[in-house]
């Protein structure tokens, strides 16, 4: 039986010989070259990818593909260790660092025959919400170059071109989101600590899944906040996210924060009856700064569920507004600890200063880290000082429990899934975004996504409609711990209802889009 989803269609095409893995790989590599201006990739592993594609082709010829991911081109955010391939975290600290090992999630993908195209761009050490603060420059949102956006933008003068008008991808997994959105890969790995997978997914019009904390191994993911980080999954449809999840989830002896429960990969049913569902609408997510457009879309989505027979209730998560402050303290504290490993001795950048160990460490860190990273390290150390530990760090840990309990209460009251906006507005133009500093932006942009990380809950962005500016807007579903199947089933139902339009990029027209499924152009807004 033909399964839903883009990956299963491509997989079928590969099995039936309608397209070869090397051909797919070549197309993606060519597309990466022609969309270089997006700056989505830091490293393109051309030779390695082609070799993997050839090996995949051999397996298909023998009739022995490793699974649905065999031969599928994938991109990985550049904060995951990839053996033999540079891993930089978009920082001077790790420029030239060639990982000696694969992150568990990368190894899992490779073991299933996926073709690793390259490493994608991000904010330095995943700190940021724009993918603008890495040393390799900002990532451009592919939608900046879409027909839909160009049609809606009014040029200020006929000399002005898209150069100054381009919009950000959001962050910090902006490169991965842009890569998936511009068809250069079929899926990508991101990471999510405060919204870093869901935020760029919303701005780039792709599906962004943050799994439950403890479900997917973090071994090899260069850590930001050990108690909140998760690998994130970016795909073009919800079914594909389920496929990736199935390939990646499960206990890893190398990551002591993964749960030991057996994980069973699942296929998503085609939900037709939502009458048994209870959808919660948290009132606090009507946050200050939420655009009226997104508010209207959120309301429309709630009505959609109601009209289809689901129970839709307003709920309260009273500590939502403290989530960002809590995150600020816990994140900087864990960053202070995690960044301590970068001293130039064993790997990474090393300063030439030789007078003392301390002066070498200090100079190395001054030279290697940008202001954002250094600022967080200093703040984190402040909150961890003996005189501040109880007042800030422990206090934040207590507030974390209150935030988590808010969710527990709501889910216990019978709500199955929460429906919220993912971002406050559509993607901002780069020139506007950089007028505020990183910390301010992060505090603003993470407001709707952060609490799910605080509580460890699974959450997903589903592209919903285009804004008045012709840019993607997504909505977020938050589920119960380890109930990804229910979360994704509802997300898939919603995705089917809204029929989010496909991006119309000139670059794509030039390359045959025979393998890419066209979606209906009727849209939700």
């Amino acid at each position: 039986a033909l399964k839903d989803g883009l990956l299963s269609q491509v997989s079928a095409a590969l099995k039936e010989g309608r397209v070869a893995p090397t051909e797919l790989c070549h197309r993606c590599l060519a597309l990466i070259k022609s969309t270089k201006f997006l700056n989505a990739y830091i490293t393109v592993a051309e030779e390695i990818a082609l070799k993997q594609a050839e090996e995949s082709e051999e397996r298909y010829k023998r009739g022995q593909p490793l699974g649905i991911l065999d031969g599928i081109p994938i991109a990985v955010k550049d904060n995951f260790n990839t053996a033999g391939i540079e891993t930089t975290c978009a920082s001077n600290m790790l420029k030239g660092y060639i990982s000696p090992y694969n992150a568990t999630v990368v190894q899992k993908l490779l073991d299933q025959g996926a073709v690793l195209l390259g490493k994608t761009n991000l904010d330095e050490f995943a700190m940021g919400s724009g993918s603008t603060d890495g040393v390799f420059g900002p990532v451009r949102n592919p939608w900046s170059y879409s027909k839909q956006y160009k049609e809606k933008s009014v040029p200020k003068s006929h000399c002005e071109d898209e150069e100054s008008n381009w919009v950000i991808t959001g962050g910090s997994s902006g490169g991965s989101a842009a890569a998936v959105s511009s068809f250069t890969c079929f899926a990508a790995l991101g990471s999510d600590t405060g919204g870093s997978t869901r935020n760029p997914a919303a701005h780039c019009g792709v599906v962004g899944l943050k799994p439950t904390y403890g479900l997917i191994s973090r071994h090899g993911l260069i850590p930001l906040v050990n108690s909140m980080d998760v690998p994130g999954i970016l795909t073009r449809c919800v079914d594909d996210a389920a496929v990736l999840l199935g390939s990646l989830a499960g206990h890893d002896p190398k990551d002591s924060t993964t749960v030991q429960d057996d994980f069973k990969p699942f296929e998503l049913p085609n939900l037709t009856d939502v009458s048994k569902l209870s959808i919660g609408i948290p009132e606090e997510y009507h946050a200050p700064g939420l655009s009226s457009e997104i508010l209207a879309l959120w309301s429309k989505a709630a009505d959609l569920f109601k009209n289809a027979g689901a129970k839709v209730v307003e709920v309260s998560l009273p500590h939502t507004r403290y989530s960002i402050v809590c995150y600020h303290v816990l994140c900087t504290a864990e960053v202070a600890s995690n960044m301590a490993r970068f001293d130039g001795l064993e790997y990474g950048h090393r300063s030439d200063k030789k007078e003392s160990t301390e002066s070498m460490y200090a100079a190395t860190r001054r030279e290697g880290f940008n202001d954002v990273v250094r600022g967080r390290i200093l703040s984190g150390n402040y909150f961890l000082l003996k005189q501040n530990y109880e007042k800030y760090f422990v206090k934040a840990q207590k507030v974390r429990r209150l935030i988590t309990n808010d969710f527990v209460k709501v889910f216990r009251s019978g709500v199955d899934i929460l429906l919220t906006p993912t971002t406050l507005s559509d993607a901002a133009p780069y020139t506007e975004f950089i007028q505020e500093d990183n910390r301010t932006r992060s505090a603003q942009d993470d407001i709707l996504t952060q609490a799910a990380n605080m509580a460890g809950l699974p959450a997903i962005n589903v592209p919903t409609a285009l804004s008045e500016r012709g840019l993607p807007v997504g909505l977020q579903f938050i589920g119960r711990s380890f109930q990804e199947k229910q979360l994704l089933t509802v997300a898939k139902w919603f995705e089917k209802q809204v029929q989010f339009p496909m991006i119309q990029l000139e670059e794509i027209k030039r390359h045959d889009s025979g393998v890419f499924q066209h979606q209906k152009s009727a849209s939700f807004s």
Partner: protein, 109 residues
């Protein structure tokens, strides 16, 4: 209240990262101000939360079997200064100069 020079100095020594200039110090002040909002929340009787997985027993002891290793060469590849199988560091136990003695701090503020 402003952060004292002693604390700033102490932080630079602990973090081995410098504030570089008054902007860096401003940034810290703002960060503290922002964090102070936490004190609005009543947390009486609330236990601090270390991990969302506290109810699940994730940690376990495994058998003391050697399952990997022999990767010295690979691990040494990324180090810049090494001698045989040693990472080479400059001499230790030499403290950094105090803030007032440094020529980097608060210049041109």
């Amino acid at each position: 209240q402003k952060v004292s020079v002693e604390v700033l100095d102490h932080l630079e020594h602990l973090a081995l990262v410098d504030f570089r200039d008054s902007e860096g110090v401003e940034r810290l002040q703002k960060a503290i101000q922002f964090a102070d909002q936490l004190h609005e929340v009543n947390t009486d009787g609330v236990e601090p939360m270390d991990s969302v997985l506290e109810d699940r027993w994730c940690l376990y002891l495994r058998d003391d079997d050697v399952t990997e290793g022999n990767c010295t060469k690979d691990l040494m590849e990324n180090a810049r200064e090494k001698v045989e199988e040693y990472f080479v560091a400059p001499p230790g136990n030499i403290p950094l100069p105090k803030l007032e003695e440094q020529d980097t701090f608060l210049q041109g503020s």
